[in-house]
């Protein structure tokens, strides 16, 4: 910068305008270079990580083949490994968490934007977002010591008493299992999705809701017909973002899911997720095949995350198209 200024001050023979243009051009080229390099680096990094994961997983891929994905087995002693228990655990815990978290998040966001007085809304919004700042390992500890026992002593007996005819609520209550893990995940998702929903609702044009109210619709009708419809693609994206978080969470889940090796119908039983299994056993793998199998799990997790992300984009695009058509 200063050299350019200096030369401009001293070099009387040079046309100031030309230099300026050249300076601009330099900035342009520089900016372009940095941007291209950043984009290329991130693409390269993703490709390199994917390659490395597959490379390290190769002993297991070679040994078990694709059937690894739908085999239910995890025995480090006999070296029998399969991913089904963990794929099932990941899908189930995330699904339960989403089904609970989405209505709750939308409710929180609507309360903050439509119902709560402004003085109350700001501190509550901050508090909800602070939930996201709790380190997951702390949340997991709380899960072991406080939340898990509460689930085992109160929530699960209640569910069994009233809905015991459903096989998912059979078996004996346990403080570590699919249900406590799903509920801890719910707590982790809510701050993210509710914060995004709140932003979305704030951006709904006032005229639209006012118009709906002027046409005689009630508050709920205006919310349903205008706010939610307008924000729908954003909500879908928020949900998938939450799903991504649920898929990837390892530590808190490891602490409360009970590290089970088989699939159970009951939600009270122990299970495990892909991320949690990777976190708990990678460092202590006793054989190359076990280490490879854990990396194989990582590859599956990456594939699932990729598919969810692409699905998210497709859904958002679809919604936008539908909205434009309407």
């Amino acid at each position: 910068m200063s050299t350019v200024d200096d030369t401009a001050a001293h070099g009387a023979g040079l046309a100031a305008a030309g230099l300026e243009r050249r300076g601009l051009r330099l900035g342009d080229t520089l900016f372009r270079g940095v941007a291209v390099a950043a984009a290329a680096a991130s693409t390269f990094l993703l490709g390199w990580i994917a390659f490395k994961v597959l490379d390290l997983a190769w002993p297991s891929i070679e040994h078990f083949g694709l059937s690894f994905v739908w085999t239910e087995a995890w025995d480090p002693v006999t070296e029998q490994f399969g991913a089904l228990t963990f794929v099932y655990g990941t899908a189930l815990t995330s699904l339960i968490a989403l089904v609970i978290a989405v209505p709750v998040s939308i409710g929180i966001a609507l309360f903050l934007t439509e119902i709560a007085p402004r003085r109350l809304a700001a501190p509550i919004a901050t508090l909800v977002e602070l939930l996201a700042a709790i380190p997951s390992v702390v949340l997991g500890l709380w899960g072991i010591l406080v939340f898990g026992p509460w689930v085992a002593q109160h929530l699960e007996p209640f569910l069994q008493d009233h809905f015991g005819f459903l096989p998912i609520f059979s078996g004996s209550p346990s403080q570590a299992g699919i249900l406590p893990a799903a509920l801890v995940l719910t707590i982790m998702i809510v701050p993210i999705t509710s914060a995004i929903c709140r932003e979305l609702f704030l951006r709904v044009p006032r005229d639209l809701t006012d118009g709906a109210l002027a046409l005689g619709s009630t508050r709920w009708e205006a919310i349903r017909g205008v706010t939610l419809t307008y924000a729908a693609p954003g909500i879908a994206a928020a949900v998938l973002l939450g799903l991504g978080r649920a898929f990837g969470e390892a530590i808190a889940v490891t602490q409360v899911i009970g590290g089970g090796n088989s699939i159970n119908v009951s939600w009270f039983a122990t299970g495990d997720t892909l991320a949690s299994r990777i976190a708990s056993q990678y460092q202590g793998a006793t054989s190359q095949l076990q280490a490879g199998s854990i990396l194989y799990l990582a590859a599956i997790l990456m594939a699932i995350s990729l598919v969810t992300n692409v699905a998210a984009q497709l859904i958002v695009r679809r919604f936008e198209k539908a909205r434009r058509a309407a």
Binding site: V77, T254, G259, S280, G284
Partner: protein
């Protein structure tokens, strides 16, 4: 800023020179302060913590140790991110090959306790190997099962579900516990087996000693396995376990000492250091779930010389810090084996 730095360095140099004194006046000051880092077994952590100030005094070695678990210890030393690793389980063949030129040396001796949470018992619970194996195989599911009643005629055992709790992460304690169960129960050996992580057919898994301890303290009817120092510092009640001599032994110093009393006169291989389920002649107080814990040292790194000093000190002088922490000093035969292995740490 710079002046202060120079002054501080000057003071440090003066102190160093004063400390080294006449003995090694020619040695440069920097030599007296080397840093060594280690990671792994949380089992051995209380003992290593006692060693840290002592090796600093003896050799000027600045030792840092993080209790990340045996699995992480093996991973850390294999990747050479630390100068040594510590593990409660000896390395598997694959792990030893991956570590490229590592030696595994026994450097402490302790036991795995069996804490339980059964409210309202009037005395200490007694268990034996086959019963423990049946509990972890899911064949005994209630505290008032005949097999447990038979061992505890005086206790009023409740009709409460047993929740066996295990380590879901890879753990040396799991290795020790399953080593014991595999040697007392053929069925356990064939169905589950012996490793740092196994496929238990029943029970609840939790991460780390603190994780299993958390589950046990909050679940009535739970039972688990953790190292004895952890049990004692957290005031858990743990079971007395029947040995081959027919006695009910506790994981105290006397119990561990008797458990190693029948080791061969000359130890030449790690595989001879298996001390679970000791023979009848070991004594009535021999605790059957005792274990050595190991340091894993690379033989070919720059810090090898200091690691060799540290390990040598640990298996000799360091042993006397063990008893208050429920580590029994190494028997002489094992010390002799350790010396021979230490010699292999040559450095570059």
């Amino acid at each position: 800023m710079k002046k202060a730095l120079v002054a501080a360095l000057g003071v440090a140099a003066l102190v160093a020179i004063a400390l080294v004194g006449g003995r090694a006046a020619a040695a440069p000051a920097a030599k007296t302060d080397t840093a060594i880092t280690g990671t792994g077994s949380s089992f051995v952590f209380p003992l290593v913590s006692k060693w840290i100030p002592e090796v600093a005094k003896a050799y000027g070695i600045n030792l840092t140790y993080s209790p990340t678990g045996s699995g992480a210890g093996i991973a850390g030393v294999t990747a050479r991110t630390v100068d040594f690793g510590a593990s409660d389980a000896p390395l598997s063949a694959d792990q030893l090959a991956a570590c490229k030129g590592c030696v595994v040396i026994p450097w402490a001796l302790s036991a795995t306790s069996i804490p339980y949470n059964v409210p309202g018992l009037s005395g200490r619970l007694r268990l034996d190997g086959p019963t423990l194996a049946s509990i972890y195989l899911g064949k005994i599911t209630s505290w008032n099962a005949p097999a447990i009643k038979k061992l505890n005629p005086r206790l009023d055992l409740p009709s409460l579900k047993i929740t066996p709790v295990f380590r879901s992460d890879s753990s040396g304690t799991t290795y020790n516990f399953t080593e014991y169960l595999s040697s007392v129960s053929g069925e356990f050996k064939s169905k589950v087996g012996n490793n740092t992580s196994v496929n238990f057919p029943t029970g609840v898994g939790a991460r780390g000693s603190s994780g299993v301890a958390g589950v046990v303290s909050k679940t009535e009817g739970a039972l688990t396995y953790v190292d004895v120092a952890y049990s004692l510092t957290n005031h858990f009640t743990f079971a007395a376990v029947k040995n081959r001599a027919g006695g009910y032994a506790l994981p105290g110093l006397r119990g561990i000492k008797q458990a190693v009393s029948k080791l061969p006169k000359k130890v030449t291989a790690l595989s001879q250091l298996k001390i679970v389920d000791p023979p009848k002649g070991a004594g009535k107080q021999a605790y059957p779930i005792s274990t050595f814990t190991y340091v894993i040292a690379p033989t070919n790194t720059k810090s090898a010389g200091d690691v060799r000093k540290l390990v040598y000190w640990a298996v000799t002088q360091g042993q006397k810090f063990g008893p208050p922490l429920f580590f029994e000093p190494l028997p002489v035969t094992v010390q002799a084996f350790a010396y021979r292995e230490i010699k292999k740490i040559q450095g570059v």
